[in-house]
Symmetry: C2
Subunit: 237 residues, 2 copies
């Protein structure tokens, strides 16, 4: 049984860290009697330290009596994942995140923890690792992970911070849609383009689109689909 | 001795394939009595076939009596590189290009060919592989190469299609400059952000910026520099 929020971004424009999603997050915490959150800070956005990144989450959740612990401070990390009632993987660089999770041999334990029912929140890079592999990240490959494989707790890949092509752009680099089409030259996995402000709420077999925007679904050799809030992505696989 | 054109892009807005660079390219061909070009099509932009991509280059150079041969049609590719008087690696997906060059064990022969004086043209992905590694590509990691190492015929990395931050953008994904700063958390190599229309003309020890734009140079733990046409990047290393 899974219980997840898989979000395009931690922060929307003109809003504070996690604020746009806080109401739904706190509802999930309450529903599941969660008072402790295990935080995975390894994506290190902008090079923030593991401690500072954990503090940033702590500051948001402290008023609601949620205790946040950075996994980097715990000796037996695998055990910590297995015992966690709630896990949050923050955004940043997906290559750095995946490299660290593989080095510490935590990808499989994380998958097991999620399937065992630990509540999971992922934002951006933390959502990329919910897919089958990290081949649809937008991040720069600043480090080389041992493998691009991720947890596969979803049967498709996420493309977070999904951006529509800009009308009238003179830039010759690829659009996001072109990049995802390139992914489908070499891969058959569906890709969900999640716009900022959108998230998936996963409960058991339901994988429902929330937020104000439609999402764009890319299937190999097919025209992309626009799907509305309330769509169940479980039907993709 | 090196003799190279290392370009941000093959094509600028409102112009045909290779047109903006054609005059300088033909001058280099004439100066070096080049009549044959070995083309490396492995980056496959948009999934174009190796044959079609080679034809695209052929169509541009045929009027000037330059014979274009795709390396994919040659059995002994290493020998072809060693005997080539001119080599062109086209743009597309850098992960796919680097994966193929490593699989075919062509990265070192390509480096040797360039240092032995074969004229080299790289555009976009073909310029990324001139650096020490592909960790500053903009491309999506649609396939996993055995290594991110590239030819290192330049002592720094290129970031092609360099884009300035967009004033007033509400998008929360990283800007190009933020991504390159993340690269410098884990790497010490200088990075040259080449805007579309810019290219490096490398002759022996000179590595000179050409084109209408300034380039942006990123050094670890320093403020980025804007350098003008005529700047010699050789001084970076």
């Amino acid at each position: 049984m899974r219980n997840m929020i898989v979000a395009s971004t931690s922060t929307i424009h003109d809003s504070g860290y996690l604020q746009y999603i806080l109401k739904d997050l706190l509802a999930a915490f309450k529903e599941n009697n969660i008072t402790n959150l295990l935080f995975i800070p390894y994506a290190r956005p902008g090079g923030i330290t593991h401690d500072d990144y954990t503090q940033k989450v702590h500051h948001v959740l402290q008023p609601y009596d949620i205790k946040v612990t950075g996994i980097h401070t715990i000796e037996n990390k695998e055990e910590a994942l297995m015992q966690a009632t709630a896990i949050f993987t923050g955004g940043g660089n997906t290559f750095q995140l995946v490299k660290t999770l593989h080095e510490l041999e935590l990808m499989t334990p994380l998958r097991q923890a999620i399937f065992s029912g630990a509540f999971y929140l992922g934002t951006s890079a933390g959502s990329n690792i919910c897919g089958l592999n990290m081949r649809t990240t937008n991040d720069m490959p600043v480090v080389q992970p041992a493998s691009f494989k991720t947890t596969g707790v979803l049967g498709y890949n996420i493309n977070p911070h999904y951006l529509d092509p800009v009308d009238g752009s003179t830039h010759m680099g690829e659009t996001r849609e072109q990049r995802i089409k390139e992914f489908h030259l070499y891969n058959t996995i569906p890709v969900v383009g999640l716009r900022e402000g959108s998230y998936l709420r996963v409960k058991n077999d339901q994988e429902i689109l929330h937020g104000p925007h439609t999402a764009r679904v890319f299937l190999k050799d097919q025209e992309p689909l626009e799907v509305k809030t309330g769509y169940n992505f479980a039907q993709l696989v």
